[in-house]
Symmetry: C2
């Protein structure tokens, strides 16, 4: 009887990611990706094993370049859940002077959300805006966070974000919340059109940007 | 001009999850799911907006019932990444006396992995087994963790797990590592066959089990 372990390909730990990107590139075949966005798209496929991200990711003009520049200048990241925060490479972010904020678990955020009948994620976005820092908003779960950001843009109360990452996942107002962001031509965004997204996708977009900022992207292509 | 916000459906924060599950149930249509596994499958769809999970999730016989029983008796969970840990409802787990372990970031795990030329995730699984506690292994990223668990079963060094959640995602040895677990008839498992999975999926399977253990599942169906 053959040993099932024989089917395992031996790949050194340090080479696993590179081998993954080779497979992704090969399976994308003739598909041409905008070189500015290529690494972000491939990392989303890498993190999800879902080639839908080659089609559904929408980038405002030079969103990647602008966000990378902001990160190099010390921009911080605010997330809508702790899971997105957990997935971000905080060591690389700190190298540039940035840090990750997440206010969802703060008791006063919960209290305010309850009182106003809105979600904690929506209140968290306001807390982020009030920091008065250059910020990337990384939204992987809560469409209500994206909706609140849109409302604040309409009200004129949102300092211009360095980037909005709009990749909440799910079934209630997810598609619609992303279309709100896509309707703005005055804000840099990366949005996964449709229902798909998630904490992993939000975190991996942040990491892709951080690796580009580190000139480290060749390791991952 | 119509206000784009008019397209947003008003749903109270507490009702968003219930409304999502209604949509999932409706889109599954006539599809019959095993009632024992239904909540787990629907939560995976909920967390990913990907109906592939209706097809790719494989359950060993009464894996859900066995894992729920173990959680009620205080079983702990070990994860292969910090992101899986971040996504687990630790409040509910603690109610039953359990906690979540993740050893990947421990400096001695990194040192040992480097010395042995294996991944930190693989070493972490050994650390988990050495705890001598009833354990659910939740693997959302590293096929090498699943492979190590299989090897330990072959060596006879793995105390029988309460459950193996095998949902790593990706391209290198991911499919093969899951097949190793699926080949065992002596261990309870929940495995997402194929390339898909992820931290979010691993965490949401843990949470589905916790909600069933809490008799709370009706809130989410």
């Amino acid at each position: 009887m053959s040993n099932p372990l024989d089917r395992i390909e031996f790949v050194k730990p340090a080479d696993i990611e590179g081998r993954s990107f080779e497979i992704i590139t090969s399976e994308l075949g003739d598909r041409q990706l905008d070189p500015e966005n290529e690494l972000v798209i491939k990392r989303c496929i890498h993190t999800s094993a879902d080639f839908d991200y080659a089609d559904n990711l929408c980038f405002s003009e030079h969103a990647v370049t602008k966000a990378v520049e902001a990160l190099k200048n010390g921009a911080c990241i605010i997330t809508d859940t702790n899971m997105v925060k957990a997935g971000i490479n905080k060591r690389v972010l700190a190298k540039f002077g940035g840090e990750v904020y997440n206010f969802v678990a703060d008791p006063d955020v919960a209290a305010e959300a309850k009182e106003r009948g809105i979600t904690r994620s929506a209140v968290s976005m306001e807390r982020g805006a009030a920091l008065g820092k250059p910020l990337i908003y990384a939204v992987g779960n809560a469409p209500t966070a994206l909706i609140r950001l849109y409302e604040m843009m309409e009200e004129g109360t949102l300092p211009t974000p360095a980037l909005i990452i709009g990749v909440p996942v799910g079934f209630v107002n997810v598609v619609e919340s992303k279309e709100l962001i896509l309707s703005r031509d005055d804000v840099p965004y990366i949005v996964a059109r449709g229902r798909k997204g998630g904490s992993n996708v939000a975190a991996c977009i942040c990491n892709a940007l951080l690796y580009i900022a580190s000139n480290n992207e060749r390791l991952y292509m």
